[in-house]
Symmetry: C2
Subunit: 318 residues, 2 copies
């Protein structure tokens, strides 16, 4: 049986092999990924991001446990270099979620950002589609909230969670400023700490001052108010409540105008990223003497990259 | 007089206006940026990156002072969200390098990563060209060492500095692993701290174990051995020595086979990024009904992004 058919039956080995192929970036896998894309769309995609040290990955493992308690299937794509999941792939599989390792209803895939040049969005979003098509109910995509690509990938989801934590340094706080506004749900982790209340209050104040709702229904009521949920991976506090909030956002996403709007934005992003990926592949694999001569002349500053790329892209139909 | 001519005479107001235009990403500015690219190429470009908390930005300000003591002109492009320079643009110009604020031989430009979708490399590298064409001797491009784009931008320089610091958390250390190998020069900041020696020893051990030199000369001697330089922004220790090391790397870069090899890699990267930028601009600005219908069908999963982008890119000449 073909990998694609096996995937649709929920075969996790087929899922893993397809992810590896997607990650390798071979052109041949694209038609299969296309079929998988069309077969997917049932799962709920949760983007989870936050600064280094915010406790994202411990939170994810607690969330996975709560989702499993409901009997729902959950997948995790971790592209956070500080995550134990992706950290495993970087640091040599040192850390594993042992209590979930033998559970067929959980699938964890880590992706190293190290050395990957540009293929991050491609691999990560293909992996989400693969788990979606394999019948996973919730797919969490965990990225570190620093870096343009990383933040964009987290945004390509149905519910965006931004994780904050009390007591981080000033430079980390500055990074945080850039990602707060993308949240559908704010999570304040490490709520067992005394200073967590301050972080929650700060976020609520920020939300009260800003424009927190972008779309209203016909009665002019906001469709979604961005909530702040406190959690503690230490005590388990708030984890269940966070899952309920995610489910509530999923319901609003599915039943209101928020959903189609979001889905169009994601589709636009994915179309562009896929085209970009094609451009990258063709450019760096190009054996054309014309391209090589072009690069050589640019390196000598005899030609500029703007004129060169105008020429390269002159026939693109957009 | 045209902005371009004013720039070549070293007019910093012209430089600032050209950077703003490059950042805005208008298509009209591309021919001028092309001319600037060809006029540039004399300055030495230093890429400086490191994890959050490594003390990059304080180090940069000390380095700027040392370069000015020599009477050389120095520009800084800061796209680190935790930098006081770019932090200024994000957090509202709160912090400024006051003692250098009135000095014509220093130019600092900060770029917010926040809200920028993909144009980071374009704006940053155009700004480097602009300062180069305006006659700056050294241009430092400071990025946070997290995020694919950010690391790639730092690599698009003649000398790559990776800044480490003692006493950072485990999750930050994990991020660091991904950027250590891109260094031409390792810097260990905060050397006034007792635990800094350990960081220096660790880096030296890592370098001794790994393949640290990629190219040798005809006598089979390594062209460049990656050094580890300790600095303290507190005491000023090591700053002068770091600048000497940068100058030494510049000389090797300019006189050996390392230079042309590096310049070709940078040219290749820039050509691709410029083409990608053109694709992005055209795609998101497209008013074609065909593209809109395509995105709509992809959002409904009736069409997949792979088939769609194959069609969009079918005429690209590569």
């Amino acid at each position: 049986m073909e990998l694609f058919e096996r995937l649709l039956k929920g075969d996790l080995r087929a899922a893993g092999r397809l992810m590896s192929r997607a990650e390798a970036g071979a052109v041949e896998v694209r038609p299969t990924l296309g079929k998988i894309y069309k077969a997917a769309g049932k799962g709920h995609i949760v983007g989870l991001t936050g600064v280094p040290g915010s406790g994202k990955s411990t939170l994810v493992s607690k969330l996975v446990e709560a989702i499993r308690e409901d009997g729902r299937k959950v997948g995790v794509i971790a592209i956070d270099p500080s995550s134990p999941f992706s950290g495993g792939s970087i640091l040599g599989d040192r850390i594993r979620m042992s209590n979930l390792a033998m559970d067929d209803g959980v699938y964890i895939r880590s992706m190293a950002t190290r050395g990957s040049t540009g293929g991050l969005a491609r691999s990560a979003l293909a992996a989400v589609d693969i788990l979606d098509a394999a019948g996973f109910d919730i797919i969490i995509i965990e990225t570190v909230g620093v870096g343009q690509d990383e933040v964009e990938i987290a945004r390509a989801s149905h519910s965006v969670l931004v994780v904050s934590a009390p007591g981080l340094g000033d430079d980390v706080q500055a990074i945080k400023a850039g990602i707060l506004e993308i949240a559908d749900i704010h999570v304040v982790s490490k709520c067992d700490r005394a200073d967590a209340n301050r972080t929650i209050t700060d976020l609520k104040t920020m939300l009260a001052m800003g424009i927190t709702v972008s779309m209203k229904n016909m009665n002019d009521k906001p469709l979604w108010q961005v909530p702040v949920v406190g959690t503690s991976s230490e005590t388990g506090e708030g984890i269940r409540s966070l899952l309920e909030t995610i489910d509530r956002h999923r319901d609003v996403h599915r039943s209101s105008a928020l959903g189609p709007q979001r889905l169009r934005r994601i589709a636009e992003y994915r179309t562009f990223k896929t085209a970009e990926d094609l451009l990258r592949g063709r450019f760096f694999a190009s054996t054309s003497e014309r391209v090589a001569a072009m690069v050589e002349r640019i390196s000598r500053r005899e030609l500029d990259p703007f004129t060169a790329s105008d020429e390269l892209m002159s026939n693109v139909a957009l």
